[in-house]
Amino acid sequence: MGAYILRRLLGAIPLLLGVATLIFFVLALAPGDPTAAYFSPNLPAEVLEQIRRNFGLDQPIYIRYFKWLGSFLTGNFGYSFAQSRPVADILLEALPNTLILAGVSLALVFLVGVISGVVQAVRQYSLLDGALSVITLFFYSMPSFWLALMLMLIFSLKAHEWGWPIALPPTGITSVDYEFLSLGERIRDRVVHLILPVTTLTLALAAGVARYTRGQMLEVVRQDYIRTARAKGLPERQVILRHALRNSLIPVVTLLGLYLPFLFSGAVFIEVIFAWPGMGRIIVDAIFMRDYPLVMATSFLFAVMVVLGNLIADVLYAVVDPRIRYD
């Protein structure tokens, strides 16, 4: 197993380098200029040229590439053009926010998805199955930004207008006077601010997990050993929860690895609408402003997440299913 992991990691290095190089050249060739972040109509052309020179953009592309590669491999991600500070600082600031949002959402997605999938499988073709199917698919079919806007409209604006007791704040990680709250109030504050973004993400993704779980459960339930367990007279609950569920969760768990990169960058819309300062917004803003160092660093991180995610999924699969062998 260890050798397998090592091989995969080594094999991933050329992949990551390839992706990074490709992104670098695509960026360099795309029209547009990072100096536009400093754009003012009154700025004379020579001054813009000077800014470009300060960024090192006046050098030919190959030199820029090797310089970037050199500093990148030694861990120096450079300075962001738009924010004028080290890229590493920017990433470190945004990463915890994304992790919180992604972590809580991922946990809820699996909780809701697995429960829904199990119920659907156990009661296949019943009304409950149909209803759950429709509900989860209903939310899965929504563009996430539309769902975010509607939720905000209903639970923030209209709730406030109609005086509901639970009117949720639409933006921010914490309230403005967070520093002056007691510990209990602080916890409550954070949770309340998380509700809208997490709900949007969870609703959008839970259906995928639910359907997959349902499929797996249906297969497992038809296996011989389940029939044996029932024939032995075990209560149905035990049959389902102790025998069927454990075996069907195996591939579902590997989904964890696959959802990882998506949560990293896929929450862009939610971050924009709910003003959540996470990685997704950083990536999009950086691309629009042609902030090369930042785009390179975040794209590279994303590719790393994808590779790691796949690796985790495969390793987990092998770990929990003793029939799988890698060499």
Binding site: D33, L43, V47, N54, P96, L153, T171, F180
Partner: protein, 528 residues
């Protein structure tokens, strides 16, 4: 079981990190919602509008200051003495201090001036606003002598900028100034200071108790928190539900909603951004001034303002805004006259010979691309213009590009027509036409004369407007220039967009005028 444990750990983790650094009395906190994060708070390297306003009104003390009357007032400079046409001597106040306690002196001002003029700092301030100021000399700790390059109009307006602390920045190389960590949380001298900054999230300002009484004294509010909320609907939701007290800016669509709401107040004041259609004067058919005039006569600018801007704009005649003292009252803008437009186009040879509703000449239809950025408002204006042009037989093909791409094409003069804007960074009126229309840079690659305008009479007027110091004469020159611009239409001026902001009705002391939304931030307070 494990799930609950995990959840509890997660919650503890969440509360432990972030927040909670500063203790402090509760005090009064004003929350401001912004659409985008601000840049570095450095007067030399900044080029962003709102960042500049905060620099001038909240964090630093510029030499001169503006209020709603648009007259230049003393600020850091207690008094001044013009040395004829060739220079000015400023005497500084003695009671202004940096946040670390040291006094603000003439050395700081000179240091900042030199930094700005150093080309390797790539400063907008130095290159654009101080173009006519040659040197600075600190006569003593509180007296400064500036020498001009040449006599020029509105000389005092060159000095609306603030000094940086020399003792903190003198070891920073000018080319590295933009990246200096100082810019994130500067040591300033204004009514507020930055105490916390989280990128793309919030900036916390705290009142400066040492702000001199002579300049208004410490502000009434204890803290101001600037929050970044990118989505306009979310911003308005926060304003409506009380999450923020001030929204800067709001979109024209939202003005009606705000006005209908009793708890909110709308601020709309004439702005500094001019929206225009840039014709590529070096391409057919825009080489003919009659065609350009016809194209200007054929659009109903008031309809665009009423329909898309919900009335929040004013028709433009030149680069001088209607609220500025130098605005020539006697010059009328071009009317909406489609018949005259049709006549002019007919006379220029553009007639509809094949009955398809589009004029043509020598087999070529009167059809061109109009570029715009992908902002909703810009796209909508181009769509409406397209519909208006259709009625006089001109076919416009709108092309929406991402802002960067559009800018690149605009600068490279690779366009037929473009719908874009020009923002006045200060109140020096001569800088705009100099940048936009002077033929000396009409062929220079990537210069600001992107429409390739080459009109010798215009050049002469621009040169005179830049150097004349007599006010009467200056007015006459601007009047003539505006008339020429209306005749020639090198670009077609559409409108000045109002700046829009919304506040809760409980806010007091808020006054917004052309110098900026944050003009009276030193006096903002909440009335509970």
């Amino acid at each position: 079981m494990r799930k609950w444990l995990g959840a509890a750990v997660l919650l503890l983790f969440m509360t432990a990190c972030g927040g909670g650094e500063r203790g402090g009395a509760g005090g009064e906190t004003i929350v401001v919602g912004l659409r985008a994060d601000l840049g570095g708070f450095n007067p030399v390297t900044n080029s962003d509008q709102y960042t500049g306003e905060l620099i001038n009104f909240a964090l630093f003390t510029p030499l001169v200051q503006y209020d709603s009357s648009l007259a230049v007032k003393p600020h850091l400079a207690e008094s001044w003495e013009m040395q004829g046409d060739s220079g000015v001597v400023f005497r500084l106040r003695r009671d202004v201090k940096w946040n670390d306690g040291r006094a603000v002196t003439a050395e700081d001002v000179k240091f900042t001036f030199d930094l700005a003029k150093d080309s390797s700092s790539a400063s907008l301030l130095g290159s654009a606003f101080l173009a006519n100021v040659a040197s600075a000399e600190a006569v003593d700790s509180f007296t400064l002598h500036f020498r001009f390059v040449r006599p020029h109009a509105q000389a005092l307006e060159d000095f609306w900028w603030a000094p940086l602390p020399k003792h903190l920045l003198e070891n920073v190389a000018p080319s590295e100034l933009r990246n200096a960590p100082f810019n994130r949380q500067p040591v300033g001298s204004g009514p507020y200071k930055v105490v916390e900054r989280r990128a793309n999230e919030r900036i916390v300002l705290e009142r400066n108790p040492d702000y001199p009484e002579g300049l208004g004294g410490p502000p009434p509010a204890q803290r101001i928190v600037l929050r970044v909320i990118p989505e306009p609907s979310t911003m308005l939701t926060e304003l409506t539900t009380g999450g923020v007290h001030v929204d800067i800016p709001v979109t024209p669509d939202q003005t009606e909603t705000i006005e209908k709401n009793q708890n909110l107040r709308l601020y709309a004041f004439p702005g500094r951004s001019l929206w225009y259609i840039g014709w590529n004067n070096s391409r057919e058919p825009f080489t003919d001034p009659n065609v350009r005039r016809a194209l200007a006569l054929g659009i109903n600018r008031q309809e665009v303002i009423d329909a898309l801007l919900f009335g929040q704009g004013e028709i433009a005649t030149s680069t001088v805004p209607p609220w500025h003292p130098l605005y020539p009252e006697n010059v009328r803008p071009l009317p909406f006259d489609p018949e005259e437009a049709g006549r002019l186009l007919d006379a220029a040879g553009w007639r509809d010979s094949n009955g398809d509703g589009i004029r043509d000449k020598n087999g070529r239809p009167l059809r061109f691309e109009m570029l715009s950025s992908d902002a909703t408002l810009n796209r909508s204006v181009v769509e409406q213009l397209q519909a208006q042009y259709r009625r006089i037989g001109v076919q416009v093909v709108p092309r929406t590009l991402e802002f960067q791409t559009m800018l690149a094409q605009h600068k490279a003069r690779d366009f037929d027509a473009v719908f874009s804007s020009w923002v006045l960074d200060n109140f020096q009126m001569a800088s705009a036409p100099m940048a936009l229309f002077h033929s000396s840079i009409a062929r220079t690659p990537l210069s600001t004369n992107r429409s390739a305008v080459q009109i010798p009479a215009l050049d002469r007027l621009i040169d005179r407007a830049a150097t004349t110091t007599d006010e009467q004469q200056l007015r006459g020159i601007w009047s003539e220039m505006t008339q020429l611009l209306q005749r020639e239409q090198p670009i077609t001026f559409l409108y000045w967009l109002n700046e829009l902001a919304g506040t809760q009705s409980t806010m007091e002391g808020v006054e917004m005028a052309p110098p900026g939304e944050f003009m009276t931030i030193g006096k903002w307070r909440l009335n509970r």
